[in-house]
Symmetry: C2
Subunit: 255 residues, 2 copies
């Protein structure tokens, strides 16, 4: 299960934080580190702070966008301070640990951590299926990046240990659903956008943020694999209809 979990750091400023993150991960048995557009990497400071987790730093996967880093994941969790304004399902770190252990039994799961100063941008949050926050004192709720990674990974490891001690209980709770990965969702969104353009719902000259809102909705709903097939089937049916309507109107024009 732990091998199906990855930690993604976006646009990290201090290379020392990359090293501290690697150490925090390895302490908790999590080994897959992805770095999206790191500002200063490779850097000796990352290896120094990693201490006994230099292997995690050296094997880190570098990507230029978050989309690449989560392409094969079926559950993506964004981390930031608690926020009641955005629309994703929210859970605290303890609930997150339990959820990650359940999900990672069947597919890759990503934990996404934003910049030291700014956290995650809106377009990054919208690529997530859920959001987690660490309960903290209101006087100063802003954890250091590596400290946040430590806390989340600790809760995952605790959930892992608790489940190992109660296999029967956990198995009975386990859901048998299978989910598409981010890449498959991306294909669906492309299909959706094409179809909506074909039928004139979206107008190329005035794209607006309709697609953004639809993506947000579907990410939140998190369709299962079978449900996504149905949605793709609906789109194909619309496509055919649009195609025949087009032919029909072309014929009429010819007459």
């Amino acid at each position: 299960m732990l091998s199906n979990i990855r930690v993604i750091l976006i646009n990290t400023f201090h290379p020392g934080n990359i090293g501290s993150t690697a150490r925090a991960m390895k302490n908790m048995g999590i080994r897959n580190l992805y770095l999206v557009d790191p500002q200063d990497f490779p850097n000796e400071q990352a290896l120094t702070m990693a201490a006994g987790a230099k292997d995690i730093v050296e094997q880190a996967v570098i990507t230029s966008t978050l989309a690449e880093a989560i392409a094969d994941c079926s559950f993506v969790i964004g981390t930031s301070a608690r926020d009641r304004t955005h629309s994703l399902p929210q859970m605290n770190a303890r609930e997150c640990g339990e959820r990650v252990i359940t999900e990672s039994q069947s597919h890759p799961v990503a934990l996404v951590f934003g910049r030291e100063t700014m956290g995650l941008h809106n377009d990054e949050i919208q690529q997530c299926n859920a959001h987690t926050y660490i309960s903290a004192h209101p006087d100063y709720p802003v954890l250091n990046l590596a400290a946040a990674v430590q806390t989340i990974c600790y809760e995952i490891y605790m959930a892992h240990q608790i489940q190992a001690e109660q296999p029967y209980k956990s198995n009975s709770n386990q859901k048998e659903k299978t989910y598409p990965n981010t890449q498959q969702m991306e294909y669906f969104y492309q299909h959706l956008e094409t179809t909506l353009r074909n039928i004139g719902f979206l107008i190329k000259q005035h794209p607006g943020n309709t697609m953004l809102k639809l993506k947000r909705l579907f990410n939140r709903a998190r369709p299962e694999r079978q449900e996504l097939s149905i949605l793709r089937g609906v789109l194909s049916t619309i496509d055919k209809l649009a195609e025949s309507t087009k032919k029909e109107s072309t014929k009429k024009e010819e007459h």
Copy 2:
């Protein structure tokens, strides 16, 4: 409750770890930092790493020994890797969080963190009433000092939040016992040693480690305040007996 909790760092090598510890504490609402014989403090690096918790660093209490730092505490918890060989009661970080919240309702509680490389020395562990460890992966279970403080303080804050949500349940579980503080235990040990010398059980020329073993036993047993009064009463009775026996034998010699 949180104001009755202190974090004690012993002989810290990297001043940056002092700052990161202060931040981890403040994030979780814990404000009392004690530094026992820090190797490089004050130091700018501590303030840099503290970020929004510089006040915690600036108000830190410096002592030269652990005994001074815990003198007014009634429950002292040492932290290190899990170890089945030593004799203290052990609990994981989650159990520690719950225990600290219960204890801190009635008296000061200390969490003691050892050196970056060596942890706590045996004589320091023997000054503790209990021991806590953070569950970690056996491949690399050694957390960075500030990461360990973060995890323990997080569990304390979680226990605090959970209790705040369930006041009735927690109150009914709450124990009404009161415990002596470390200074009072120290007076008892001095009394015990004096008495044991007076009656010839301990011989000044061959002190051995009998007192050490007795201290370990009583720290583990953790007498309540009333029980300690009884023990002090026993010692006083023995003292009087020893005194009168001495007078008696002096009289006999005079005859």
